[in-house]
């Protein structure tokens, strides 16, 4: 058994993916802000949102966005915790909360996107 959970791998694949998803999100999140928040009507009215939601492109876009965004955020959060040595029970609990809440909110978001 491993003394500290999260220490079994080098973490290299998630390290690379954190950078790749990050570079993607730089463009997408800043773009998202300009589209949704600079013009309140396009991001804050049901009619405008629904029009986008019926486009396959925006559906795919939102599904990718939510997956990449959540993964990047939660992998980063776990990365912060991994920097500290914790008792196995503590690190397992934190890891469990991250994974389970991540899955729950991913399902919640995907459900919203696929309702249209």
């Amino acid at each position: 058994m491993y003394k500290h959970s999260g220490s079994r791998g080098s973490g290299a694949p998630s390290w690379v993916l954190q950078r790749i998803t990050g570079l993607l999100l730089v463009v997408v999140v800043i773009g998202h802000y300009f589209v949704m928040h600079a013009d309140p009507a396009s991001g804050h009215t049901y009619a405008a949102v629904l029009e986008r939601m019926h486009h396959p492109f925006w559906k795919m876009f939102d599904l990718t966005f939510i997956t990449v965004g959540l993964w990047h955020g939660l992998n980063g959060t776990w990365g912060i915790f991994r920097d500290y040595e914790m008792k196995p029970v503590v690190s397992l609990t934190i890891y469990g909360v991250i994974i389970l809440s991540g899955i729950a909110f991913w399902v919640l978001g995907v459900n919203t996107i696929l309702s249209f």
Binding site: G22, V26, I30, A38, T45, Y46
Partner: protein, 140 residues
């Protein structure tokens, strides 16, 4: 990680961390973590808030009336500062890791803050100029 489990230092982890000598890069490291945690918390709130889309037009537009009040718009604008810092400092991290950025990371940090401030003000103008114009027009 391969080291033996270490006892908590007497002054606590947070104070131990705060004690370290800090230069621009260490502050960027700290800010990157704080903004990252903040944005991750926000994505949860964001996903939850948008579930009202499934409850129809009335529920969604009512919620958005709250989110387009001045207080929420200012919060939304302030949130953009977290996005900008985390995004540009993230690019800086990638450059340090993959493009020999350790040689010029201090210069990139200036660009991170500079570009961030410019885009933050730009977003502020986009978000608040037309409401401000309307407000002034309604007073006249």
């Amino acid at each position: 990680m391969a080291m033996a489990y270490q006892a908590k230092p007497p002054e606590g982890w947070v104070n131990t961390n705060l004690k370290y000598y800090k230069h621009g890069g260490s502050w960027a490291w700290i800010l990157h973590r704080i903004t990252g945690l903040g944005l991750t918390a926000y994505i949860y709130v964001h996903i939850y808030a948008l579930t009202t889309l499934t409850q129809g037009e009335k529920a969604f537009d009512e919620e958005m009336r709250l989110f387009t009040t001045p207080v929420f718009k200012i919060l939304e604008w302030l949130l953009f500062s977290l996005v900008l810092f985390h995004a540009f400092n993230g690019v800086r991290i990638v450059l340090v890791d993959w493009a020999d950025g350790a040689r010029y990371h201090k210069k990139i940090l200036t660009v991170v803050y500079g570009l961030g401030i410019v885009l933050f003000i730009g977003m502020g103008l986009l978000m608040f100029m037309s409401p401000l114009k309307n407000m002034i027009a309604s007073i006249k």
